[in-house]
Symmetry: C2
Subunit: 428 residues, 2 copies
């Protein structure tokens, strides 16, 4: 039997408490699987006195996470505080400098400082692991770095933020609008303290940036992501999309092209019957495509105490077993700088608009589309009680530039009642 | 840079050639990811002169896989011959005895001799890895042994044989019967040389036995599996199940119960709209449930050159990176002997029968079911041109013993035209 693996856990929110619970409940199982006892030496959080539902008196307490991270009796610093900078980053850097392994669930920190932290960890010959940072309990980091290591990865895509998916599927089910469901989700505690991280797509984009780096051997490039959140997704669009056989998802896509690395996180339509279309509530799904594997799909809970703690524990077990690979799958100093590329591959688009109720309105729209080189696959005009006639159009594949041109030309026709909505349709 | 990792590959069928292709095509990528060159020292197969579409002249040739496995210039013996005994087992044992790591895609060998081979490998302190043995390219062994190592696994289930799923979904799509589609699949080369391995459910049961061992820390117990193949699945049942909103799948389920380890591989009905119900063609799906993770679903190609070679290469990369864990996740000498248990948990059942066309026939069936304690959820009697009236029944949850009793009692009613069909409905 080797020496025990001693953890120092900073952050005792949902995930931190989940980790403590697993270690207390499954001590024998973890030892059987890793060959070592897993123990907690010390913990740290903002409030020492809060009742968190697990006994903590057996662990040393540190007010300062940096002090926790550098304790002599800590082998692994488990960073579950969050925040891209501040104490999380300071303590992570201190841990690495002190020769401690680090496990983090902090996607923001990795998206912003992953390169520097990875280089520091690899120089110090310690592990920096982050399974819990991407898609909660889904073991996607392990799948991509190890399980598919024999593949040239061609595309990574998926639904990576459970809160957004919860909001979108609740809107579908209830017929209520975005503001109402946003308030509901916020009341249930489903959103980050800064909800913009969720609904603005930022959290999901952090995850996509991390997956891109592993998939394509490039430095994490969060700023290179074409990013749009779900705030502008209306119940009218959800209903209309359903009517045409689609669901609206906040979908992330990353692929290497001849022009550079394409990364986008934006609301898209996907076929309602596809695996992504059927994803309900807080569930996440990642689709990984490679030259040998063809396609693998991973689905699981994207958040929550148990699932996220499960991912942290996978990292704990890897470290206990002595399993170590470079942070992003190849040595950090060999990661290349990618050229951000905007998607130019043609895709079908969904267009929704209101037309003023006068003769020739639809003809003008159709003409504008035709002149922009956008051909119509399906079109529906709905009955209407007021002066604006709701019109839905599904186009054949068109370049995003053609759609942009068509939308601009539409504005000059004088037949639009309000701004039209255009959403890409992702074929899976 | 470490020393190259030198492979000896025995078996140059589809998978072996796929592995050679990846190593030739992606040498730089593999070195970047593992920190070592991956080379092939020698190969072995039945016929030296066959053109396999890849140049093999750079590798030493061995007619005898045992000689290959023990060569001084081989660090890893890659066993892709198949067969539970014979040369595959002899060469694997020889490799372990000679201190070589082993990678195998041989589910039959592991299901039959996994315990002895694992003990031998762990005593010799070499790796024995088999990602390719279970569900082709899906990295499910890694997910279960490592990615979910913090979980008490509660259930593993899935569709684990692509050929069976191909046959069942082709029957659905074409309306053709089992014999016709079996012949088609055989002609396309989709079936094992002994097709009973596929359609008899044996191949899928081998995989289930391996997953059970990892999930529950038990010795592989293939003989403890309740096993039924797809040969008796008729086009009538597929059509009738579809009419009631279900698909028929060859479904494997393993769970630890208070009475012992329940393992079954048998045709079941699953909701048509469920992820398992939507699985088309040769795709595999594994559902893993654990106390923390809740549920993770992995979907991907269950066979084929690229996907299976991808799984072999994951093992190659793990060994090249120095990643090593016990063969079944815990030391083989600590695996427990499980008590096989037959499922007693009530489930809904699908019943299909033909009734003779006389008054009171349906009443007799309903009475028999009621007396056996089986209550009816839905029932349909179809119009009919001949004397037997087709009747479908979906029951509420019932114990399998109650269904057995009802089926026996039905035989005595004198109203059955032929033997009734009963299939379990798996709620997901």
């Amino acid at each position: 039997m080797s020496q025990p693996l001693r953890l120092g856990i900073a952050g005792l929110g949902t995930v931190g408490v989940g980790v403590v619970k697993i270690i207390r409940q499954h001590a024998a199982m973890l030892t059987a699987r890793t060959g070592r006892d897993i123990s907690i030496s010390a913990v740290s959080a903002r409030s020492k006195d809060k009742d968190r539902g697990v006994p903590l008196s057996g662990y040393a307490w540190e007010d300062d996470p940096v002090a926790l991270a550098t304790r002599d009796d800590v082998d692994v610093f488990v960073e579950l505080m969050g925040g891209s900078d501040g104490p999380a980053k300071a303590a992570t850097e201190a841990a690495i400098a002190a020769g401690k392994h680090v496990i983090t669930a902090n996607k923001a920190m990795l998206a912003m400082h992953g390169q520097a932290l990875a280089e520091a960890a690899e120089t110090a010959k310690v592990s920096l692991r982050y399974e819990a940072a991407v898609c909660g309990g889904i073991p996607v980091i392990k799948a991509l770095t190890e399980g598919l290591a024999g593949n040239d990865i061609t595309r990574v895509m998926g639904v990576m933020n459970g809160s957004c998916n919860y909001i979108l599927t609740r809107m579908e089910d209830s017929g209520l609008n975005y503001q109402e469901i946003f308030a509901e989700a916020d009341g249930l505690g489903y959103l980050e303290a800064d909800p913009q991280l969720d609904v603005g797509g930022i959290d999901a984009a952090h995850k996509l940036a991390i997956l891109s780096s592993i998939a394509f051997g490039t430095k994490v490039d969060f700023d290179g992501i074409t990013l749009e959140g779900i705030e502008r997704v209306s119940i009218e669009d959800i209903t209309a999309a359903a009517d045409m056989g689609y669901k609206i998802k906040l979908l992330g896509v990353a692929q290497m092209t001849g022009r550079g690395l394409e990364q986008r996180m934006q609301p898209c339509l996907v076929p309602a019957s596809s695996p992504l279309g059927q994803l309900q509530g807080g569930t996440n799904m990642v689709v990984i495509e490679g030259d040998s594997i063809e396609q693998v799909v991973l689905r699981g809970p994207g958040a929550g105490m148990g699932p996220t703690a499960s991912a942290v524990m996978a990292d704990v077990c890897d470290i206990a077993r002595g399993l170590s690979i470079p942070v992003f799958g190849v040595p950090a100093d060999t990661l290349t700088t990618s050229q951000p590329a905007v998607s130019t591959a043609p895709a079908p688009y969904y267009l929704r608009m209101g037309l003023v109720d006068k003769p020739g309105a639809l003809a003008k729209i159709a003409t504008v589309l035709g002149e922009a080189g956008v051909s119509i696959d399906r079109m529906r005009q709905y009955g209407h009680a007021n002066t604006a006639a709701p019109v839905l159009i599904v186009t054949h594949k068109a370049a995003s530039a053609s759609i942009e041109n068509a939308l601009q030309a539409m504005e000059t026709t004088g037949v639009l009642a309000g701004a039209p909505v255009a959403l890409r349709i992702e074929e899976l």
